[in-house]
């Protein structure tokens, strides 16, 4: 029963997402659906307890949805032969830049707020 409840909750959110997409444009319908789903859960219109297990299952196994899209890479044989190494290098470098940026900035923010707390408590 919980499975049907969860799937209907997702279906309803996606439907509202489609309506929002028509009227507001901008974001894809599924993203509006995601935000609607979170809101309806927060407002306790959907019962989170009933949905939890199904969602955990879906999130764990959603990789399967992307296999066909990923396989499409074979239509790019030429690009890969020509630029494969450059592609991997760009992905590698930008991923580590992002890791560094977020990690260092948040760590600095945390250290700063700790120092402020310390000076406040010393006073």
């Amino acid at each position: 029963m919980n499975i049907i409840y969860s799937l209907s909750a997702i279906g309803i959110s996606l439907l509202i997402g489609y309506v929002l997409n028509v009227y507001l444009t901008g974001l894809p319908a599924s993203l509006y659906g995601m935000i609607v789903f979170a809101l309806l859960l927060h407002l306790r219109i959907f019962n989170a307890k009933k949905i939890e297990a199904t969602i955990a299952f879906l999130l764990r196994n959603m990789g399967i949805c992307f296999v066909p899209a990923g396989v499409g890479i074979i239509t790019h044989f030429e690009i890969i032969k020509q630029h494969g190494l450059t592609l991997v290098a760009i992905i590698f470098v930008t991923t580590f830049l992002l890791l560094t940026l977020v990690g260092v900035l948040y760590q600095r923010f945390e250290d700063n707020s700790k120092n402020i707390n310390n000076t406040v408590s010393q006073k």
Binding site: L14, L31, M34, I90, F96, Q107
Partner: protein, 239 residues
């Protein structure tokens, strides 16, 4: 009569290719569960195995793609399902939300721009540049945005998996090396750069790693979805 046989044929190939894809994917899921190795990523291995099968039996990709449309339709409800972890993160967002939102908005804008510019300078194919600029967010949302911005979904899927693997395998070691030691900072960084793959991997470390990584995963995806249509279109006009 012939129309009926064609339809039966399509139905049969739909069933065959979809079941085959599931079989391949879930065998690799089982393999990873038993070996517990991050780099044995089921999505990556399943893609490679299906490619090998298609090449071996000289099956055209469009035929495979049409036959597995059923599987691709599931992407939309899968994106919606992310609303659940987002709902779970609402209390965490409340405490430091301004700082975290500001930090992630800046980082997302930075990584989208730098990836797009680097790819345009080095490879100069706009579709590929769009795909690479959307590689730091979770696959479901990355692919949805790629289609909206006329990028190439298969390139995005591939780039996203690689970005996830790099962060999942080397992320913590790199962050320790540059003296980022707080579990919250580590979680946020890996969630932002390596999405669900990184998040799943470091969630075993501690509750704080898991909470901050999934927070960054969700927020980066939403922020990127909000800013990238404008940002990418503007940046592409430079070329």
């Amino acid at each position: 009569m012939s129309i009926l046989s064609i339809e039966l044929n399509t139905l049969a190939s739909c069933l065959l290719f979809s079941l085959l894809t599931c079989l391949v994917y879930f065998s690799f899921v089982e393999l990873q569960r038993r070996t517990n190795k991050v780099w044995l990523n089921p999505l990556l291995l399943a893609i490679l195995a299906v490619i090998a099968l298609l090449l071996n039996f000289s099956i055209d990709y469009t035929e495979y793609q049409q036959a597995t449309n059923v599987i691709t339709w599931l992407v939309e409800p899968a994106v919606v399902a992310f609303g659940f972890p987002l709902y779970q993160q609402i209390p965490a967002i409340k405490s430091h939300w301004k700082k975290i939102l500001l930090l992630l908005s800046f980082s997302c804008a930075f990584v989208v721009s730098i990836s797009l510019l680097l790819t345009m300078f080095l490879i100069a194919i706009p579709e590929i540049a769009v795909s690479l600029s959307l590689k730091s967010i979770t696959t479901a949302i990355g692919i949805t945005l790629t289609e909206q911005l006329h990028g190439d979904s298969s390139m995005t899927a591939f780039a996203i998996i690689l970005a996830g693997l790099f962060g999942a395998v080397f992320g913590i070691k790199w962050l320790e090396f540059i003296k980022v030691t707080s579990p919250r900072a580590q979680g946020l960084a890996i969630g932002a750069a390596s999405h669900a793959l990184g998040t799943a991997t470091i969630s075993q470390l501690s509750y704080q790693h898991a909470a901050f990584a999934s927070l960054a995963l969700i927020l980066s995806a939403v922020i990127t979805a909000l800013i990238s249509p404008m940002l990418i279109t503007q940046l592409l006009t430079l070329f």
